[in-house]
């Protein structure tokens, strides 16, 4: 008999299988080679708003009667509030309320969003301010609402709290003995066994078997998590929120406040960065709505920078083991990747750090096993390429270690183990041009396959080293519904609730609309960021461009039919009697395929029918990850970097970074380059400086602000060259593949490998600070 766990996994994987049938565009998208608008470096549609300070972020919407809220955070990790003194704060003139668990409106427990239930809209299932219980250090315990921000800030400091502390689990190292195996890692089993990896490793002629550690990291988007909540009557709620998922926030609030989703409207005009930290709502959002209900006025609640670090979960710390066995000529015979991440009492989210090894290299023997360790900390969550990022640091470092042991060029080692099928699923790749990416980047970089021994290249006081690593990010599809409308004046407008967080989605979809409907760029319009628009789930997983694109494609197909019907009804129409398969949208109208000059413009078609517009919805459902699909689909890249390490003081600087990518068709080389460069720089931050540190005695985050948690600044940035192969994927909408996250994957390993080449010192515990190179 199967265990319950095994049954659960089977059920989940079956769900995935049924979704596979809904993949977008089983036939190649005719637009995959289109070049009129797609593929051109259009400037951002919101550029002017952003450079003039007119782009409005969550808290910048003026509402009459606004009040200001400030959060007070717990100072213990686990226990109960034993005593609350809110009187001093309440007595400050202008303070409207001090909300605590004693007087907060009743809110149902939020439901954790997952790939299978993204609309749940919360990152945790921890109740929000409903009892005296404390479950992590930094949890919101009070919200002070006042007429002005100054008063709210002042009064927040007057809230006196005493706690009854309970023993807490605060150290991954100390709690490792209690580790458990999660049910799933995203959509996959936490365990993979192909062949007998342990036995193969034991007899492998060359072995690298090491442990790697990555620290907790924070997303630190520049715009702190922030909302405005305004109740209109008792049962209509308007929220401006800085979120990746307006519908998620909408459904989360509806659930917590016992409303129907349509009673909650969430508007997100612009998001000041997210990087996974805003995929779903954290407690600050329901707290804003609760405070607004309590004071009967609109409330603006922006977390402080430290508040973001305490209330919003970051990337889990990991401890990983990667063991690779190979023949003397560098063919992998065994791959083992195991490790630990964290979970909390309420929720398990196991980061997929073993996904790269499941996908990147051919080996007859593979063993993968992920475990989680329960800690009393804020829930770990998504941060740019969750899983693949820490996992690739371990795997791509290990590949470099193996190459060094073999005396083989690390590029050549990767090429010798390039699989022809997905190594764990046996599926074929829809497109995989990693070899070409390596060849291109190696040539541009001037890669020397016979590099000198580590620690021997010197320029003055500086040691020089080069390193490579592979980037990888799988294809996902988000559930998206859009509405497309063609108007009688020949404009096309597409609207959906998904957001623009800086990735360029609005710009590339405007290009796509112009291309798909054959209208001038100025006549294409993309509206977004409002739950009053057709529902698109969270933007994330590097999937928005293709998912929204697929939905637009679906709507365009429907509109083709609708327009043809209009033509059929018109006796004068040159398209009368023409079959559906013989027409296409082109040149601002509907035209015959066999006689390209014959057709009618949108103005003609709609004018003749007397309609002001014709519209249609297009939808695509969620897919699981590529690793479950019938075709194995992912973006790939080859990173090359050069670092210099001061021979004496051990300062590390990345001097050059060059990468080539197979990200399918590039919609806009300008915005794509921006995303790629941004991801690499975040990866350089991960490699060299980013580390959130908790005091393990108290669970207190000691690096809550940007003064202690270092992210890269201008001076840390090297020279960049980024190349795109620009090869359309035959299966994906517009031929696109993921762009937003692939470039951070592998970056930290490329830097670490270069540091090894420069110094002969292998750092397996990020970040690579000077003290680790002494």
């Amino acid at each position: 008999m199967k265990s319950i766990k095994a049954a659960l996994i089977d059920a989940t994987l079956n769900t995935v299988e049924t979704l596979v049938g809904h993949l977008p565009d089983p036939a190649p998208d005719p637009l995959r080679n289109a070049r009129e608008f797609i593929g051109k470096p259009y400037p951002r549609v919101d550029g002017r708003l952003k450079v003039t300070g007119q782009a409005r972020y969550a808290t910048e919407h003026p509402i009459a009667g606004m009040t200001h809220a400030v959060v007070v955070h717990s100072s213990i990790a686990k226990g109960k509030i034993s005593h609350l003194d809110t009187q001093a704060a309440e007595s400050v003139p202008g303070v409207l309320a001090v909300m605590t668990h004693r007087n907060a409106p009743r809110m149902k427990t939020p439901e954790t969003a997952s790939l299978f239930n993204p609309v749940a809209g919360s990152n945790t299932s921890v109740p929000v301010m409903q009892s005296a219980d404390i479950t992590w250090n930094g949890e919101a315990v009070a919200v002070v609402v006042a007429e002005t921000l100054e008063l709210a800030n002042y009064a927040a400091g007057l809230v006196g709290i005493r706690y009854e502390e309970e023993p807490a689990a605060l150290s991954l190292e100390a709690e490792k003995g209690n580790a458990t195996i999660p049910t799933l890692v995203v959509t996959q089993s936490p365990e993979v066994n192909i062949g007998d990896a342990k036995a193969a490793l034991a007899v492998a002629p060359v072995v690298s078997d090491q442990e790697y550690e990555t620290p907790w990291q924070n997303q630190h988007a520049m715009e702190p998590h922030a909302s405005i909540a305004a109740w209109m009557g008792k049962d209509q709620l308007l929220v401006y929120d800085s979120t990746q998922s307006p519908p998620g926030v909408q459904h989360n609030l509806a659930r917590m406040f016992d409303l129907k989703p349509e009673q909650v409207r969430v508007v997100t005009e612009f998001v000041g960065g997210a990087f996974g930290g805003k995929v779903a709502a954290w407690s600050n959002v329901p707290l804003a709505a609760a405070a607004a209900r309590l004071v009967g006025r609109p409330v603006k609640l922006a977390l402080s920078r430290a508040g973001v670090s305490m209330v919003v979960g970051g990337r889990t710390l990991t401890q990983q083991r990667v063991a690779l066995g190979a023949t003397l000529d560098g063919k992998l015979t065994a791959m083992i990747h195991t490790g630990y991440g964290m979970r909390t009492t309420k929720d398990v989210w196991a980061e997929q750090y073993t996904f790269p090894i499941r996908h990147l290299y051919a080996s007859p023997n593979i063993h993968v096993l992920q475990k989680v360790v329960r800690l009393d900390r804020v829930q770990n969550s998504y941060m740019r390429a969750p899983g693949e990022t820490p996992g690739s640091f371990a795997l791509e470092s290990a590949m470099d270690e193996l190459a060094h042991k073999l005396g083989l060029d690390p590029v050549e080692l990767r090429m010798r183990n390039e699989p022809d099928k997905d190594p764990t699923h046996g599926t074929y790749f829809s497109s995989r041009h990693l070899r070409e990416a390596y060849a291109l980047a190696a040539g541009k970089f001037g890669w020397d396959p016979q590099r000198p021994e580590p620690g021997t290249q010197r320029e003055g006081d500086w040691l020089i080293g080069t390193g490579v690593a592979t980037a990888f990010y799988p294809v996902q599809q988000l559930p998206v519904t859009i509405k497309a409308r063609i108007t009688a004046d020949g404009h096309v407008e597409v609207s959906t609730s998904s957001i623009e967080m800086g990735v360029g989605l609005a710009t590339v979809q405007t290009q796509h609309i112009a291309e798909r409907f054959g209208v001038p760029y100025e006549r294409a319009r993309y509206l977004h960021g409002d739950t009053d628009l057709p529902m698109s789930q969270a933007s994330g997983g590097s999937a928005a461009t293709s998912s929204v694109g697929a939905a637009i494609h679906a709507a365009a197909d429907k509109l083709t039919e609708k327009l043809l019907k209009l033509a059929q009804r018109n006796k004068q129409s040159v398209l009368r009697g023409v079959k559906r398969k013989n027409v296409e949208l082109r040149a601002g109208g509907l035209y015959r395929l066999d006689q390209p000059a014959v057709g009618e413009s949108y103005e003609q078609l709609l004018g003749a029918s007397g309609q002001a517009f014709v519209e249609a919805e297009g939808s695509v459902p969620a897919s699981a990850l590529v690793l479950n699909m019938k075709t194995s689909m992912a973006s790939y890249g080859a990173h090359f970097c050069e670092v210099r390490v001061h021979a004496r003081t051990r300062q590390v600087q990345v001097r050059r970074f060059m990468s080539a990518f197979d990200c399918g068709r590039i919609m806009n080389p300008q915005t794509a380059r921006s995303q790629i460069v941004g991801g690499i720089i975040m990866g350089i931050g991960m490699a060299l400086m980013e580390e959130a540190v908790y005091d393990e005695r108290t669970g207190r985050l000691m690096t809550p602000s940007l003064g202690e948690y270092h992210v890269p600044v201008h001076a840390d940035v090297p020279e960049f060259e980024v190349y795109f192969l620009d090869e359309p994927d035959p299966v994906m909408p517009m031929g696109t593949k993921p762009v937003g996250e692939v470039s951070i994957v592998g970056t930290a390993a490329a830097v670490a490998n270069a540091v090894f080449q420069a110094t002969g010192i292998r750092v397996r515990h990020l970040p690579i600070t000077a003290d680790k190179l002494l």
Partner: protein, 315 residues
Amino acid sequence: MLTEATDPIATRFIAGGTNLLDLMKQQVEQPAKLVDINRLPLSAITELPNGGLRLGALVTNADTAYHPLVQGRYPLLAQTILAGASPQLRNKATNGGNLMQRTRCYYFYDVATPCNKRMPGSGCGALGGYNRVCGILGTSESCIATHPSDMCVALAALEAVVQVSGPHGERTIPMADFHRLPGNEPHRDNTLLPGELITAIDLPAQGFAQHYTYLKLRDRTSYAFALVSVAVGLELTDGLITQARLALGGVAHKPWRRPAAEAMLVGQPAEPETYRAVVQSLLAGSRGYDHNAFKIELAERAIVQALSQALNRSA
């Protein structure tokens, strides 16, 4: 700029405010009154009759660093100031305020944790806690915090003199005596008396403009506090060192100098690799804690590197 504080609800002087306002937001400082001193006539850089330079307390860090006389005669100070903070902060922060900066120890800043400097008697969170940024020299059982300033490290090396004015008149305090070690009174950062105000910082004529360097080691390339920093000023005659100044930042509750170590350099040839004894003398008694023991070796390397750079610099 602010007065020395033990009382969290005292009156404070405010000039640039870049540290004081930050501390007020953190509730580390909760002054009942602020006195804006920006209209005081302390905004000039003037030459002193002894060949030195007087830096008004209200001159901004940026105006000081880019002042032609500072650049020409005290390039060590200019370089040091420009290694600190960001252009925006240097445009606002004043010279007096720079001396009054309080520690960046994470426990001092977080009022949910104990800190003897912030609240005497509450304990030291950094001891046994996350103390990567803390001190290795002159620490006490009460406090292992460091002084965060870069500028003060150069001022210490230059043997600047702090001019102060207070209820009992004016007096001068040599840089070496301005900041203090924590001992069992870590809440006292410096030796200012209640009500005293810094009016100027006097630089002696000797500027070490030929052989100098400020080496700052930190966790990112710019806009970060020092893990270890070294200010060096040397005079050479015929390849031999005739005068030496050496001050460390990021390692102690004050800029760290040991004149005895400097004296060991006098008469030495310009070969920093041979200065092992000097390094050991300067760092004698250093003690590492859980997360910052590396600072001892990093400081050793930094001192040798800084001396090497100072000797190789031709102005």
